[in-house]
Subunit: 268 residues, 2 copies
């Protein structure tokens, strides 16, 4: 084994996670630039095959970064992290109802818990900025706006639900750039699923997002919609597993791994 | 719903599957040019999460095309096919031992069976030929040569085992082309994992493959190794689930879907 270099990204990620573990809480957009951030959903082992199959059938909203073995609370994406404590904010679900938000999920984490880490659109926001595309939710200092759509996911076992999307207003002349840039970022959500007509995907009022905060459009902007990692939370609401834990929308797990990379060994 | 055009590829695939269903048997390399072919492994539902997790952790040898719900014998990759009868040849496994090869797996298919369809390197052989790279196993009319390596997969639950690779001799001056062409074919196995020194990955004798038939190298050829969809069969041997069904090496499931595509609906 060669010793691994400590990157500035992973050092900063460890520092931020330590603050969350100690009780700090804030949305993670823009925190630790360059570090991959992840959505999380935790389910009983008896529901894990269904969720893994749902992700395999719907990879755009649910790009899988890691799945833990039952009872494990660690991941190669951040070897010193504890998934029960190192996110800024958790949601606790029972029978599909959101019952509580907490800063520490330890007492809710069951012995047979299986955690899923899913890629996050924050991964392409930096790439958009680098390509000269404004990111209005960052400019406006708001959590990204997320909406349930009328598009049903391909179901898997007992799990079904609507696609949830995040919306970013994009200047019309930069829509093609935004599509290409986001399509090229691995492990985020890929290209947008819709441009320009929210009502065509069942979104009636941009000012009333189902999750996060509304973002104002500038003159000449089009609303552009990307698959969103909050989708599993809408699935919980429809499918009602006995219990679940998720991140709170916008409050992600910050990994040690640089965007576009994966942890792990090279092949022989 | 718009009516779907019937492609020549899917018509030919249906014709060939009907012959297999009626009892015909032959390796499928070169059959129905342009149709995606798939490896198959079938396991009890109680082992399906482990296998799905293994595939998620080892996507190069196990690129997932589809996973069935327990008891289902159909797939959107070929809607009129029956997975129990439409492959040319099956292997029946018990406790990790290969106990039988059959042309019809119906009587071995249990009620809780979950089938995994995995991408196949035949998908890039046509692309290699189109790029001017000779494919020696096709020239020599032989099943491709496959070897167990010393590289251990990332394990998942009760499943572990070695990476299995297929080998194709490539003229030295075309190795870079072969790497780029195979890396660019989605849903096959991607780029090679090794070029040129078989002993470095634990392959001692090219003349004695673990599966398939040896392929002769021409003067100036290098042996090039790709991750192989027979990998799950080596996993069965090490991990010994109570029962399993697989395709026989080289005897694939021929789907209706053109190479590089996926079945399914476009998003709204």
């Amino acid at each position: 084994m060669e010793p691994q270099a400590v990157s500035p990204v992973s050092a900063a990620a460890q520092e931020v996670r330590a603050r969350f573990r100690a009780g700090a809480c804030r949305p993670t957009s823009g925190l630790v630039p360059g570090a991959t951030q992840a959505n999380m959903v935790v389910l009983p082992a008896g529901w894990a095959f269904d969720m893994l199959l749902l992700a395999q059938r719907n990879p755009a909203p649910m790009p899988l970064l890691d799945v833990t073995e039952p009872g494990r609370v660690t991941t190669p994406w951040a070897p010193d992290a504890d998934l029960r404590t190192d996110l800024p904010r958790y949601r606790i679900w029972r029978e599909g109802e959101l019952v509580e938000e907490v800063d520490d999920a330890t007492e809710h984490w069951r012995e047979d818990a299986v955690a899923f880490l899913l890629g996050c659109s924050f991964g392409f926001e930096r790439a958009l900025l680098a390509a000269g595309v404004p990111v209005r939710n960052i400019e406006q200092g708001r959590n990204v706006a997320m909406y349930r759509t009328s598009h049903e996911l391909e179901p898997a076992g007992r799990l079904r639900g609507p696609l949830v999307v995040s919306m970013r207003p994009i200047p019309a002349e930069l829509v093609a750039t935004a599509v290409q840039v986001s399509a090229g970022v691995p492990l985020a959500h890929g290209a947008p699923v819709h441009v320009g007509h929210p009502e065509r995907i069942g979104v009636q009022d941009l000012a009333a997002p189902d999750y996060g905060e509304a973002t104002d459009l500038h003159e000449g902007d089009l609303p552009v919609f990307w698959p969103c990692g909050v989708t599993p939370q809408a699935v919980l609401e429809e499918s009602r597993p006995p219990w679940a834990i998720t991140h709170a929308p916008g409050h992600m797990f910050i990994t040690d791994v640089e965007e576009g990379r994966r942890p792990g060994r090279p092949l022989a």
